[in-house]
Symmetry: C2
Subunit: 369 residues, 2 copies
């Protein structure tokens, strides 16, 4: 079984799904490419129009176009033909692939006698623990998120409130979720980051954790702001959430905010290398229960604390480890979000989120807000 240890990794990746590709080769492209990682050697196949860029930026042992691998006609446009030609060139017939490997390509390779093993674990387990360089890049994205959060909160702070409780802009028109989102996304752009689904959700809208939010914002209601930019050059993500209330919150909302703050603080306090993610999640759950907030599910509708406490973050916005009820142990160098929340249709949502790096004896918040 010595062969198993040296089985090369085959990747078909690129476009929007490019995390392993970037990690292994430093290259990224709008169209899919084929990468074979054979121990320390890496072989990349790209289309003719990516060759120069790949030559300049990809960290690989050898680079091919389909033409250079001898492919003709329609095969030049077929990823399965690229992969087959590369495996033949490297004299490999057995490869390790990821669970997300495309079934269509798998079938075509298998038909030609290639043996594919789906890896149970991550293809690049080292990707989970971030290097200091990676932490620097995540921190850059997170700093952009913090600047954008400050701009958003300032916008809400500056708003006037009319007799009916609506927030007003300088020009006297109602301040809408869309306005605040634009302030955020502009600030991110100024820091070379992009964001697709920035959340500014007021009142009942905030009870849906992934609702982007729309329409006029009102005083007295919680406004969930969740900013998760990706840096346009490095590809690393940041992630931060805050919940703010313009004016005085209703007592129940003030209680929710205190409880979530306490849950986040407690979860942060137990994080260190060696601790299970379950312990972190259960800590947040316990604190929220102690504050008398129940989690219930009825006919599909969940209320209370209805998601995990956090997720790993890096070249993907959601990556390992998930901070849920499993026995996964945290490792020094894990970068995770810590984001307990409460969601009730009657009151809306409250979430506080920071991104931290796990250390031997605790954790460090990246870019304080």
């Amino acid at each position: 079984m010595g062969k198993k240890l040296t089985r090369p990794i085959l990747l078909i990746e690129g476009g929007t799904r490019d995390a392993d590709l970037r990690y292994a080769s430093g290259f990224t492209a709008p169209d899919p490419v084929v990468l074979l990682v054979d121990g320390r050697r890496k072989y990349l196949v790209v289309s003719l129009l990516e060759f120069g860029r790949a030559k300049a930026t990809a960290d690989v042992t050898d680079l091919f176009t389909p033409q250079q691998l001898g492919l003709q006609g329609a095969d030049r446009g077929r990823l399965s033909a690229w992969a087959l030609a590369l495996l033949k060139h490297q004299r490999r017939r057995s490869v390790l692939v990821d669970a997300s490997f495309p079934l269509g390509v798998a079938k075509q390779l298998q038909a030609k006698g290639i043996r594919l093993t789906v890896s149970e674990a991550a293809l690049f387990p080292k990707r989970r623990r971030k290097s200091s360089e990676e932490i620097r890049m995540i921190t850059t994205a997170q700093r952009a998120a913090v600047q954008a959060m400050k701009a958003a909160v300032q916008t809400i702070t500056n708003a006037a409130v009319d007799a009916r409780g609506y927030l007003l802009k300088n020009d006297g028109r109602r301040l809408r979720s869309e306005d605040v989102r634009r302030v955020i996304d502009r600030a991110l752009l100024d820091h070379d980051c992009m964001a697709q689904d920035t959340i500014v959700a007021g009142g009942a809208q905030g009870a849906e954790p992934h609702e982007r939010g729309h329409g006029p914002l009102r005083a007295g209601q919680p406004i969930v702001i969740d900013i998760f930019p990706r840096h346009k050059i490095t590809g690393y993500w940041g992630d931060i959430s805050r919940t703010v209330v313009k004016g005085d919150p209703k007592p129940e909302v003030a209680r929710m905010m205190r409880a979530v703050r306490a849950a986040q603080k407690a979860a942060l306090s137990v994080i260190r290398s060696g601790v299970t993610v379950k312990r972190v999640h259960e800590t947040a759950q316990r604190v929220l229960r102690e504050h008398d907030f129940e989690t219930t599910v009825k006919n599909g509708w969940g209320e209370g604390f209805i998601h995990s406490t956090g997720h790993g973050i890096g070249l993907e916005i959601h990556e390992a480890p998930s901070v849920n009820l499993t026995d996964t142990r945290l490792l020094a160098g894990d970068v995770i979000t810590v984001e307990p929340g409460l969601y009730y249709k009657k009151w809306g949502g409250v979430r506080f989120e920071d991104t931290v790096v796990v250390t031997r004896d605790g954790c460090r918040i990246l870019a304080r807000c």
Copy 2:
């Protein structure tokens, strides 16, 4: 074989790969979901924290959480378990899937006796021909791209030129690709669009079709500007390219620009329902050859016209039909880009691109620039 006709379609999609999911259900989520399309009936499984949002926005016959399907423990987080439970609930054991279906999930379903057939064709062939509503949404994204293009060209027009040929901003500093890109991306944001890899590539950088461009811009050199925004709400894309020169282009660059303009015009003139994409591509190739521009490939490096003439565009930036050397026939309602280009290391790149809808007797440019 009657069964084959009624075999339902199984989709595991979401996050950044969400085109078929949006098309079939109108729903989109940052995390993967499971969708079963059984004739006109559609069944969606989403996590607890997406239930309310899916209830409000997904156009499906029935909606489930993993809990509602009776899943316990770790199975609640496993997409293969979601799919299995849904298929059991619907009494289906044979499904049609896309070539990109994740191999890991496929293996787990097969191990439980589910039969998966990889569709040779697109799962939703109707997605290729756009409805008037879809054309409207693409046009909205395209209009944003046109506004951004105008802002970019204005920025270059307004620039001064120093003694060494560098473009200068108002503040006397050099105008860089990054500055123009920011102008573009801001304009897109103002129209609710986002862009990841906007291209502003001057001089030799433009010889790489997917090089984003960086550093100071110079007079006399071609500057390729390629803007492809996605509308944040609808998910539809736009795509436009122009090439500009500040001051007088070198004679060779002026020749390239005339040739590419002529190639685009010729390609546009042959487009209509029923024509093969090959005819469109060959028309562009022929015109460029007639203008004495050769396409060569040496050691992987390509020069000349090194990509296809265009691609379909809709919920994906690159979708069917590709305008290449195949015999695919254009259909009324296809929305495609028409973007011949020339790339020479010595001179840089020249590309002109518009997005058009194919009609019975020609094509119509969406949002003229």
